[in-house]
């Protein structure tokens, strides 16, 4: 890092430093939730900028590949699953559901300062636990079977998440390394479990999940015929809300945030970072596990295969979380968005573009998402310069700088 780099960094960080000696003014005071809201809107627009920039580059790629149909191509991407075909709509939702859950997992772990790159492993282990219970749990009544399957997935994912958490807490092993390794261990474990217990040798995959174990549709599939919808999306939203409440409203969320932001100060304050880190990873693992449950018990004809590929849904959760700036509710929408454009990308093939182009465009959007912090800073600067200009035109009135007369201020220690 160059010297000027550090200083520039400092410049941004120090910005509000001198606003210090001003006494708080009631008119200007923002309540905590209000503050969070204004911060949230910066994040929202920053994510939007990332998406728009990504799409612009996408158009350039389309133009480069086949200029004559680029316009149609862009429309197709934007339309995504909303082409009027219920099947496609259903597909885009089905694509979104697992990555919302893994995205939530990554976002939650990140809150405590951990990078959960092991969502894939947790996802697969959770999935296989759910599928195993679905197939072998013949003595469990059909009405609760799906819930038992979900609990099994939660357990599987949680155990898989806990290992890197424990290693991080007690042995200071970097969670990135351990969770990546857990992906491979998980993948082969899944293969062994399937092959030993629930193997369908004809197709080299797990047996069909019995219909009675599938996630209930609550009539959604008949209300929206052809979509194959079930209550998973609703569950996703509920989980996002729960995680949001946990991280922003609870004592545990406070500890999590404190440990994530400053482990030293947390230790000084007597917060057990070991406990926090482990619980955070257990919950993150459980969330990914639920993603696996939703994927394989959704009745969408997806089977657990034994083809030695680490599930991509786990890795795709990382950009979902990034694009949402690790906001639990944001994750819900960025997951849906990526589900949308993934289907849109497949439709691109209608115009003679190869399917891979959408992968490139998604990649660019995600690439921009990684820069979302920069977008956020840009927004912050633009907004504050606009504010400043407004103040200038307003002049020195009761709202202007003239309000701070020395007499307004109390002495430091009178």
């Amino acid at each position: 890092m160059s010297d000027s780099g550090t200083n520039k960094d400092q410049k941004f960080r120090n910005k509000p430093l001198q606003v210090e000696s001003r006494s708080p003014l009631p008119e200007e005071e923002l309540s905590l939730p209000q503050q969070a809201r204004s911060k949230g809107s910066y994040s929202f627009f920053a994510s939007l900028m990332a998406i728009i920039t990504g799409l612009l580059v996408g158009v350039m790629i389309l133009l480069f590949a086949n200029p004559s149909r680029a316009g149609q191509g862009l429309l197709t991407i934007l339309k995504g699953g909303m082409t009027g075909s219920p099947t496609q709509f259903g597909q885009s939702i089905a694509t979104a559901i697992p990555i919302i859950m893994t995205g939530l997992s990554v976002a939650f772990a990140y809150k405590s300062g951990l990078f959960n790159i092991g969502a894939s492993g947790q996802f697969m282990v959770g999935g296989v636990c759910a599928v195993f219970v679905a197939i072998k749990g013949t003595m469990i009544p059909g009405s609760v079977l799906w819930i038992v399957c979900m609990l099994a997935a939660i357990a599987g994912g949680a155990i898989w998440g806990s290992v890197p958490g424990i290693l991080k807490a007690y042995f200071k092993v970097n969670e990135v390394i351990t969770s990546i390794m857990m992906n491979y261990i998980g993948m082969y474990l899944v293969k062994i479990i399937i092959e030993q217990t629930i193997y369908d040798a004809r197709y080299a995959r797990a047996l069909n999940v019995p219909v009675r174990a599938e996630i209930p549709t609550l009539g959604l599939d008949t209300a929206f015929p052809g979509t194959n919808l079930n209550i998973s999306l609703l569950l996703c939203l509920i989980f996002c809300l729960i995680i949001f409440v946990i991280s922003s409203r609870t004592v545990f969320g406070y500890e999590l945030t404190a440990v994530g932001l400053n482990p030293d100060a947390s230790r000084y304050a007597g917060i057990s970072s070991n406990r926090t880190v482990i619980i955070a990873m257990v919950i993150a693992g459980a969330l990914s596990g639920i993603g696996g449950f939703m994927m394989y018990l959704g009745g969408t004809g997806v089977y657990m295969e034994t083809n030695e590929i680490v599930a991509l849904q786990g890795f795709n959760g990382i950009p979902v979380a990034l694009l949402a700036m690790n906001h639990p509710i944001g994750v819900f929408f960025t997951g849906l968005f990526i589900g949308q454009i993934t289907i849109g990308g497949e439709n691109l093939q209608l115009f003679g573009y190869s399917k891979e182009i959408i992968d490139m465009i998604i990649a660019v959007i995600l690439y921009c998402a990684a820069f979302s912090l920069i977008f956020k800073q840009m927004l912050y600067r633009i907004v504050s310069s606009i504010k400043k200009r407004r103040q200038k035109t307003r002049g020195v009135g009761p709202q202007g700088p003239g309000r701070y007369t020395p007499a307004d201020k109390k002495e430091v220690s009178s």
Binding site: K8, K15, P16, V19, S21, Y254, L261, A269, I271, E411
Partner: protein, 510 residues
Amino acid sequence: MSKNVIEMDHITKRFGNFTAVDDVTFHLRQGEIHALLGENGAGKTTLVNVLFGLYAHEAGTIRIKGEPATLKNPNDANDYGIGMVHQHFMLVQNFTVLESIILGDEPTKAGIINKGKALEKALEISERYKLAIDPDAEIRNITVGQQQRVEILKMLFRENEILIFDEPTAVLTPQEIDELMSIMRNLADEGKSIIFITHKLNEIQKVADRVTILRKGKHIVTLDVADTTAEEMSELMVGRAIDFDVDKPEIERGDVVFSCENITVKREHSTKNAVHDVSLEVHAGEIVSIAGVDGNGQSELVYALTGITPPDEGRIFLNGHDISKSSIRERTEAGMAHIPEDRQRFGMILDLSLANNLVLQTYYQPRFQKHGFMRFDSIRGYADELIGRFDIRSSEGAGSMGRALSGGNQQKAIVARELDREADIIIAVQPVRGLDVGAIEYIHGQLLEQRNRGKGVLLVSFELDEVTNLSDRILVMYEGEIVADLDPDQTDERELGLYMAGKKKEVGHV
């Protein structure tokens, strides 16, 4: 009269609708040491940050060596030969001392850093200015005081002509301060021009040629130091008379509230212990100071006593109970308060709001939570109360981010939090480091009040004024051991200085 190297005329800098620097004119002459004096938030740091290219000013002109200058970033400042030692060190934690010194100005040979040459030059400077360093030590392993030396060396390494010292003496011993003063004098005599930001009036009197006093962003006056007195300067700075004498009533000292026995902390990769066999006692209604040069085991001792890094040997007692094996939270609940040395690393979570920082140790208690949910309204109410009572200033009250508070107000917030818990023993490490006269007076007053109310205070300080003014008893720490146990009325700065430098040891006390 020598010519001006810097002319800052009518500089104004606003943040939002807060005017941090208001129409300030500041001229620096060739070869002079020009002190900038003012309280926290008076605009000193903002003013030099404008000069250093960190902030863009709204109004006014800057001329450097007679030429109009626009400084957009620190690189521009560097091109003009302006170097700065910052208040909060800007060092890369896992770099070595040498790497930090040469960072940004690496002597290279065919694109590869010529470490040998760099080392030679760095050692030569370090020797010339008597700033002893270990070039291979990592920044994160050296003390705050040593880090500051690195910052100063960094600036000297670049051969800057205009040097800005932002509170450079805050962590040095009297002897080191004297050395630094003579270094600054030498530099000025060699023709370098120095801007010296400080709160310490005696340093200004010792070394500065002129002083510019700022108050609430405004230029109050520029004086020749020889023509003024400390009293006059402090009055001009604060806007009222300051009482330098600490009012310390005689009170009956109570029972022992806090003690430790034979504390030993081993050092990694060294046979020499960081803390060696330290035993001490603090009575109720007593301020016990640990004086000493930074880096003689004080930090490690405090970490051991507070549980941040448990000691290798020894036992700790609080109110008669053995807390040697207790967790930090158990110690806190047993009645220990800790004002940490590094307020940004340990004392505060900078990206949490002030309100959330004020409940850092108490957030889980029933008054702040219900069934695992935070009671933000009562946290807010509590924060507002502390903010009012301890006069913690910020732009957005309890909702301000910790980062947005000035150093002095961060420290006030920590002091407020720690003292409000009604702890029986308050372990305060450098509680007024980098603060201005007003805030120092205030925090010292708070510590004294705790003592007067029968609490025990263990004060670790590198500043002799603080030690001699506040203490009922002074312990001196040298190379991990307590080498003296003195009555402040029966000793003086010279004697303390000798103990601190290891030149003297108390008989029978090893």
